[in-house]
Amino acid sequence: MNIAIIDYGMGNLGSIKNMLSYLGKESEITRNKDFILSADKIILPGVGSFDAAMTNLINLDLKSVLEEAVRHKKIHTLGICLGMQLLTRSSEEGNMDGLGFIPSTTRKFNFDQPDIKVPHMGWNYVDVKNTSNIARDLPDDSRFYFVHSYYVEVDSQENSLFKTNYSINFDSGIYKENIYGVQFHPEKSHKFGMKILSNFINI
């Protein structure tokens, strides 16, 4: 199995590769077009800002590669953290268009209460909306590690996979056909995150 972890200069990719190795799966951290287009699975990670990420994807010619891989070749793809937000149409963090693979937008956390800190950083729970795919057989009370200041809102609930409460309910997981996105870091979420990644590579 070929797993491509997209390297577009944003965030730490080593820890995703490390968890996949632990699961017995080798993966490539890559920006090679041919490798990505022939991959069985694509992981789009990312830490940083929305516009910087989209700019890098465009400059490295990866936006068009991802469009072909995801929309036409229907390769199973998982966006993580900022990588999930890139799957949306747009973000309140920037002015650039997102990849727009899943009908949704990325919004800014805006809280009046000083107690509710941004970023949302730490362990939180998810309410699973669909247990048939990457959320299959998740242990009860599964918790995940989050670090983010923006959150995703789906247009239609049929694309919501997880909901998480942080003063508001937001979509911490989204999906559409062959595309998945999670806001938390499965690669940093012990056995809970490992289950998600292992479900994803076994789809």
């Binding site: 730490n12 080593g14 820890s15 939180n124």
Partner: protein, 261 residues
């Protein structure tokens, strides 16, 4: 709704072994870092802090090979501090798979590094460690180089300065409490926490679960860093890697949230 408070085992590296100090001195041997970290991974710790307490003093670079090995087996947020002097070393730590960097000595000697890290990796990835001791007028003043040298800033001023440069969290350590089992200096921690806008990690002196309950029920502090409590069975007893039972800590915490709502 707030997140459940974080309980963070904090392990001290000296060369390639884990040690535990008292007041930043007299390191005792604890064990092999990889084996110990493996246990914290199995115990599903919230997060983990690793500090090389000799790197800055010896002017040595971090032990990248060891950090790489740790990152391959520990699937939780990992923070590293010790000996980081420039952005290249910081990049290497992130690349290995750590998501947080802890800066202490370089925050005094090279404050532009703070800004640089925050801009390149975001504030959420940057913890500033502030170590302090009381001076003869009972004022809390900062120390660096693993507590060996006084640098003398007022703790609150320095916290605010670091926040303005882009720090994402402050790890506050009372040198006189560290390793003593005497409890956290709760009043001072709370006073600082109320005046800064970024999360504070309280470190030094925690001896029992009640100390953690007190901290989280009497302050808004978001995390506690534990040394003695998670590596020793009890005061005066041998090494036993463990995590405090969360149930009561979480229950008390939720009770406080309900009553303040």
């Amino acid at each position: 709704m707030q997140l459940r408070p974080r309980i963070i085992p904090t392990l001290l590296l000296s060369k390639n072994t884990l040690v535990k100090t008292i007041n930043f001195k007299d390191p005792s041997y604890i064990g092999d870092p990889i084996n110990t970290l493996r246990i914290f991974n199995e115990l599903e710790a919230d997060e983990l802090i690793l500090l090389d307490i000799r790197a800055s003093i010896e002017g040595r670079v971090p032990n990248f090979d060891l950090l790489d090995k740790i990152s391959k087996e520990c699937f939780m947020p990992l923070a590293y501090g010790g000996g980081l002097k420039n952005i290249e070393e910081v990049r290497k730590i992130f690349k290995i798979g750590f998501e947080k960097i802890i800066i202490n000595s370089s925050s005094y000697t090279n404050p532009s590094l703070i800004k640089q890290i925050a801009e390149e990796f975001g504030s959420q990835s940057l913890i500033i460690a502030i170590d302090y001791k009381k001076d003869f007028l009972r004022r809390n003043k900062t120390y660096y180089l693993s507590g060996t040298e006084k640098i003398g800033q007022d703790v609150l001023d320095w916290c605010l300065e670091m926040e303005s440069l882009g720090a994402g969290e402050i790890m506050l350590t009372c040198i006189d409490a560290e390793g003593t089992w005497n409890g956290l200096p709760l009043d001072f921690i709370s006073e600082i926490d109320n005046k800064i806008n970024i999360p504070l990690i309280a470190h030094g002196g925690t001896a029992k679960a009640e100390d953690i309950e007190d901290l989280f029920s009497n302050s808004k502090v978001s995390a506690v860093a534990l040394g003695n409590m998670v590596i020793y069975q009890k005061e005066g007893m041998g090494v036993l890697v463990n995590m405090p039972n969360r149930e009561k800590i979480d229950k008390d915490y939720l009770k406080r949230l309900d009553s303040s709502a």
